[in-house]
């Protein structure tokens, strides 16, 4: 690989082998001073592995790394930091119970007479954060600030410690539009200072907004490095997927659909005080109801009361005209309900258990402990869904926490599909997963409703809702404010309905933009 | 002393009135540690009996193993203006202040069963047994019984580092000095409990050729001996015959074993600490005679010749 004078970091022919899989195969990568360089690829393409090799978290099995033209071999992330490569992760890896200043200078506090000079620490912390236009109380605990602020603090620390290369691993995954904008201001400033920045994200919109070049990996191989400005979005997706899947999904958009047949699930005045105002909802078999609204509008709360995760304190639910008990998840499951929650990590996966056990869990819970699913049957179930949903795992006995986000999501879906539900609630099923898995999940939603399953899909990606919803419920301030059907279901009308009352316009465009960004 | 009394009469009128009363209607406050062992329960019972026998009004406070409870109880006794305070201190240190308060109020304090690390002037006397002497009595019995025949002894110690364990071991070893026929071959802690006594004895038996090498067992308390006796029986040997058993404390259950011929001797740690204390107090109240700073209780040796069944019946009601 050619190296020009501007190159701060270059990696040549990096190899990394895991038992049973070649995670990186002769991958080249170069980063210039003063550029933001996106690292893209589906989950499992090798992005994280490459970053971990660069930062010494993994020991590469082959290839060389040059920093400022000098060959380096970081032993671990600390070593990489000392050499000049700092990393900030999506889950901020600072200490939440220490103060901001302590976090910034942990392990390198200015000392006086052998004791930590708290005054100096705080002074230096304020000065450091001033460079980022951050005027906050540095003596306050880190956890008293939002994730975005914490992220900037983490960046400030990383840059202060390392100063040559900054790696941002999905920094925007849990930020809202304002926060993303703030973060990007920081990134641009660091870029101007001449730092080389590696930016990993799933949001293509952000790739186009902030990056200069992109490097795309697929299945551990380098697909190519391009200037962002001259790369068509469609081509970019094609490079990532190796197939024109994005177009396939998109073509169905706007096709107005209606479902005939009787109402199966009926909610009347259903609600819970302080969480979601009473609402009415009728759902037919084979119908997909999209739920749209801003974060905190009552989307997740709607799902929770329907599934009994929080007991409804008003109204009734009937199934085929019969009163239905939905007072707890167990009760709802008995009514053949299923629920894929938004927060996979805390509400979805059982991290230490195997993929097989995670898939069998809900079915097993419904059968009761005394009637175990025979091991052979579990193996069959797992194999079936691993194949059907294309869950990427070396085998069914792998602990699920080792899988990538998209594959975890698919395994949770499999858990519910194994119970053969009539009514499936999906809360943000495509959040934080790569484009390939994303398209597959959208296709799956369509297949399931064709089979007669009723689905409730909550998503902040409005274009996605437009693709598969028969109807879209719009929420605002804990209230179901509108129901859009057939031809009314367009991105524009949904955004307008969400905007209904005075909402800051950029929040809405951000929501729409995020949606557009991910699906493209 | 007379001067002190007069002074306190002037300042604390109530105390003066009480101290001039006769022994019969004396009020004594007793701060007991708790009821952590059978012996402790028996001490409580006997103290109450001894008070009743003398017509003394005993105010009883159970500290439940906490010094702060004892200090509270002592302050409450002082406030009530009792004639004397008995205390079985749960720990040795931290008593100076409250004992000083009692002294200021001219209320004599008598320590029962244990002593404290405080200036001797802060209490009138301490009634305790001599732990070293107890071990010595047990050792002497073994020396006399074996009468020069070679004998391997195993020892079940009390809780490692506790003063009864240290002193009872010391006294026993002193008694054995110069009697080369007696040899302590194994010594382990049984934590003063039956369970550990049994467990440790089992290992002694295994380690000493199935017990054939052992001629006598010395246990620092009866409970361990009772556990060990069971282990000896389960090993197919006859305790009391194949292996002599001598222990300390004289709790009822060891008399049952002695009656059955399974234990040979025990040295009494009398639960009657209060009797000598009341006697000393009465003498002091009568003619102002200060007792010595330490009143040693009798360490009586019981053997199978002492009609153990009768002793058992007498002791069983004391709450052991």
């Amino acid at each position: 690989m050619q190296t020009d004078l501007d190159t701060v970091l270059s990696a040549n022919r990096i190899d990394k082998v895991f038992p049973g899989a070649k995670a990186l195969n002769h991958v080249d990568f170069s980063l210039r001073r003063g550029e933001v360089h996106a690292l893209l690829g589906e989950n499992g393409a090798g992005k994280s592995t490459l970053v971990k090799c660069l930062t010494g978290a993994y020991h590469r099995d082959g290839g060389t790394i040059l920093l400022d033209g000098v060959e380096i071999d970081p032993r671990d992330t600390l070593d990489a930091q000392r050499l000049g490569i700092g990393t900030v992760y999506q889950e901020v890896n600072l200490l939440p119970n220490l103060s901001v200043a302590e976090n910034l200078f942990l392990g390198r506090q200015p000392r006086r007479f052998g004791l930590i000079d708290t005054g100096a620490v705080n002074r230096k912390a304020r000065a450091l954060l001033a460079e980022y236009d951050l005027d906050i109380d540095v003596t306050a605990g880190l956890d008293s600030f939002s994730v975005a602020i914490q992220q900037v603090i983490a960046i400030a620390r990383a840059v202060d410690v390392s100063g040559k290369v900054l790696i941002l691993d999905e920094p925007t995954a849990s930020l809202d539009a304002h926060e993303v904008a703030m973060l990007f201001r920081v990134v641009r400033r660091l870029k101007a200072r001449g730092l080389g920045i590696i930016f990993i994200t799933h949001f293509l919109e952000q790739v186009y907004e902030i990056t200069d070049r992109v490097t795309i990996l697929r299945n551990g191989q380098l697909v190519g490095t391009r200037d962002t400005a001259s790369l068509e979005r469609r081509d970019l997706i094609a490079m990532m997927l190796g197939r024109e899947l994005a177009a396939e999904v998109h073509d169905e958009a706007g096709a107005s659909k209606t479902v005939d047949g009787p109402v199966r699930f009926q909610f009347r005045d259903f609600g819970r005080k302080g969480r979601i105002n009473p609402f009415n909802l009728d759902v037919k078999a084979g119908e997909v109801i999209g739920i749209a609204g801003l974060l905190g509008s009552g989307r997740t709360e709607t799902a929770e009361v329907m599934f009994g995760a929080r007991r409804a304190d008003s109204g009734t639910a009937t199934i085929d005209g019969q009163a239905a008990d939905l007072s707890s998840p167990r009760a709802a499951i008995r009514q053949k309900f299923g629920f894929c929650p938004e927060d996979r990590k805390t509400d979805g996966i059982i991290g230490d258990l195997s993929v097989r056990e995670n898939i069998a869990l809900a079915l097993q819970a419904r059968r009761g402990w005394a009637r175990p699913i025979p091991r052979a049957e579990q193996d069959r179930l797992a194999a079936e869904y691993i194949k059907a949903l294309d869950i990427r795992t070396t085998d069914a006995e792998k602990p699920i926490r080792l899988l990538s986000g998209g594959n975890q999501q698919k395994a949770i879906l499999a858990r519910w599909l194994a119970t053969n539900p009539d009514f499936l609630i999906l809360d943000e099923p495509t959040r934080g997963i790569d484009v390939g898995a994303h398209a597959e999940i959208i296709r799956l939603i369509e297949t399931l409703c064709e089979k007669g399953m009723s689905l409730i899909v909550i998503s902040s990606e409005i274009e996605e809702l437009v693709v598969y919803s028969h109807r879209v419920i719009v929420l605002r301030d804990h209230e179901h404010v509108a129901e859009l059907t057939a031809a009314e279901i367009t991105t524009e009308s949904i955004v307008n309905t969400i905007a209904g009352t005075a909402k800051t316009p950029d929040q809405i465009s951000a929501a729409a933009g995020a949606a557009a960004g991910e699906i493209a | 002393m007379k001067f002190m009394k007069a002074l306190s009469c002037a300042t604390v009128l109530a105390g003066c009135v009480f101290s001039s009363a006769s022994a019969a209607d004396m009020t004594v406050g007793f701060s007991q540690i708790g009821s952590e062992s059978g012996w402790r329960a028996a001490e409580t019972t006997v103290t109450k009996q001894e008070a009743e026998k003398r017509g003394i009004d005993l105010k009883f406070a159970d500290a439940q193993q906490k010094q702060e409870n004892q200090i509270k109880a002592l302050r409450s006794f002082i406030a009530q203006g009792v004639d004397a305070i008995f205390v079985a201190p749960v720990v040795a240190t931290g008593w100076d202040e409250v004992l000083g308060e009692a002294k200021d109020a001219s209320i004599p304090v008598i320590l029962l069963d244990r002593t404290v690390d405080a200036d001797k002037s802060l209490y009138m006397t301490a009634v305790t047994s001599d732990l070293v002497h107890e071990g010595n009595v047990a050792g002497k019995w073994l020396v006399d019984t074996t009468a020069g025949k070679p004998c391997n002894v195993v020892e079940l110690q009390g809780t490692t580092g506790s003063s009864p364990a240290i002193d009872r071991k010391k006294g026993f070893e002193e008694a054995l000095k110069g009697h080369d026929n007696l040899k302590i071959v194994r010594s382990q802690t049984g934590d003063f409990t039956r369970t550990k006594g049994k467990e440790v004895m089992e290992s002694f038996l295994k380690a000493e050729n199935g017990g054939k090498n052992i001629c006598a067992l010395y246990a620092h308390n009866d409970d361990m001996a009772v556990g060990a006796i069971q282990a000896i029986k389960e090993a197919g040997l006859k305790p009391g015959k194949d292996i002599l058993v001598v222990s300390i404390d004289a709790v009822p259950d060891i008399f049952k074993a002695m009656a059955a011929g399974e234990a040979n001797a025990t040295v009494e740690l009398t639960p009657n600490m209060a009797g000598p204390a009341f006697d000393a107090l009465a003498a002091f109240k009568k003619d102002g005679k200060e007792p010595p700073k330490w009143i040693q209780t009798e360490s009586k040796l019981y053997t199978q010749a002492d009609d153990p069944q009768k002793v058992y019946d007498a002791k069983k009601g004391l709450g052991y």
Binding site: G62, P341, E357, W369, A370, P372 | E36, D253
Partner: protein, 340 residues
């Protein structure tokens, strides 16, 4: 076949530790492995280990399940004392042996139910919830016995502590049976998997329809049951209920047994067999120390040193370091097993 192989691999570190300890003891005490038949039962130091380890083994069974749910039961030692006291006072009050056992086990179940309700329904942290009974329990036991050692002469009850069946002491028969029963119960039904699921992620399990409160309560009830049986054995062994000392600190030994058995205190994957091996490892150390004839002042230091050694051997960090060392000695090799 592969299942058996997997199982063997899971228990391998415990078996190795046990073998090393037994080997060391036999060096210090040559007659260690001698076994003979006496009074119709096996007799020897190995049997002593199995026999003396019975209370901790029983406690470890319940403790394993509780710890698998990400809980902990500090009250088991106190429950042992309560149940021993209840057994002794019921039998001396003239109740029949079956009635005594039924009442005692019932009391143990109640204690477990109490803990379970505090943890599962009132959502109190397990360490605090069970601390309540740990502190109060010994007081309750003392109230039952009036602070004295309550002795009994019922041959039936004594048989549980020092009788023998199939040539083995009764306590050994009981804990092995209990271990097998519980292991079968959790592994032949779905209980094991559901308990592990609750332990790893209680919220996600509830959302998947697992009846979390019922499972949690069941785990503590099982622990209470095991503690009551251990309490009966401890009392029967010395023919008396010693409220002050029965089961004292055994909760810590039971937790240690579970930890040595490789079950994480963070809940999740558990193995009853491994915990039972852990209990035997602890008892082997205890018995080994007694047999070796060291002065008692060294008991705790020796025990602690051996346990630290075992735990260090099991530590993932050390294993990682060893793997790293072997890797850096040779040329770089694929050995990265932890992805995240």
């Amino acid at each position: 076949m592969s299942m058996l192989g997997l199982y063997g691999k899971r228990l391998l570190p415990q078996f190795i530790a046990l073998a090393i300890i037994l080997g060391l003891v036999s060096i210090a005490f040559p007659g260690f492995f001698n076994l003979q038949i006496q009074n119709g039962r096996l007799y020897g130091s190995l049997i002593d280990i199995l026999n003396r380890g019975a209370p901790v083994a029983l406690l470890a069974i319940g403790m394993t399940v509780v710890i698998a749910t990400k809980g902990i039961d500090l009250s088991v030692g106190a429950v042992m004392a309560i149940c021993g006291a209840v057994a002794a006072s019921t039998i001396t009050a003239g109740y029949s042996l079956p009635a005594t056992l039924l009442i005692t086990v019932g009391v143990g179940l109640l204690c477990g139910l109490w803990n379970g309700i505090l943890v599962a329904i009132l959502d109190i942290q397990p360490i605090i919830a069970t601390l309540v009974l740990m502190v109060a329990g010994r007081g309750i036991a003392q109230m039952v016995t009036n602070g004295a050692i309550l002795t009994f002469n019922d041959e039936g009850l004594i048989f549980i502590g020092s009788g023998s069946l199939f040539g083995l002491p009764m306590p050994v028969v009981i804990w092995i049976t209990a271990g097998i029963l519980v292991a079968l119960l959790v592994r032949r039904t779905a209980l094991g998997m559901l308990i592990e699921a609750v332990g790893v992620n209680r919220r996600a399990s509830t959302l998947s329809g697992v009846s979390t409160p019922v499972l949690l309560i069941a785990a503590y009830v099982l622990s209470g049951l095991c503690a009551s049986v251990a309490g009966i054995i401890a009392a029967a062994d010395i023919r008396g209920a010693d409220a002050n000392n029965a089961g004292l600190w055994l909760e810590l030994d039971a937790i240690l047994a579970v930890v040595i058995g490789g079950t994480s205190l963070l809940g999740g994957r558990f193995s009853i067999a491994a915990s039972l091996l852990g209990a035997m490892i602890i008892q082997s150390i205890n018995t080994g120390i007694l047999l070796s004839g060291f002065p008692p002042e060294f008991n705790l230091i020796i025990k602690a040193a051996i346990i630290v050694f075992i735990l260090v051997l099991q530590s993932p960090k050390l294993q990682g370091t060893l793997a790293f060392l072997s890797r850096s000695n040779s040329t770089p090799k694929p050995a990265e097993s932890k992805a995240k």
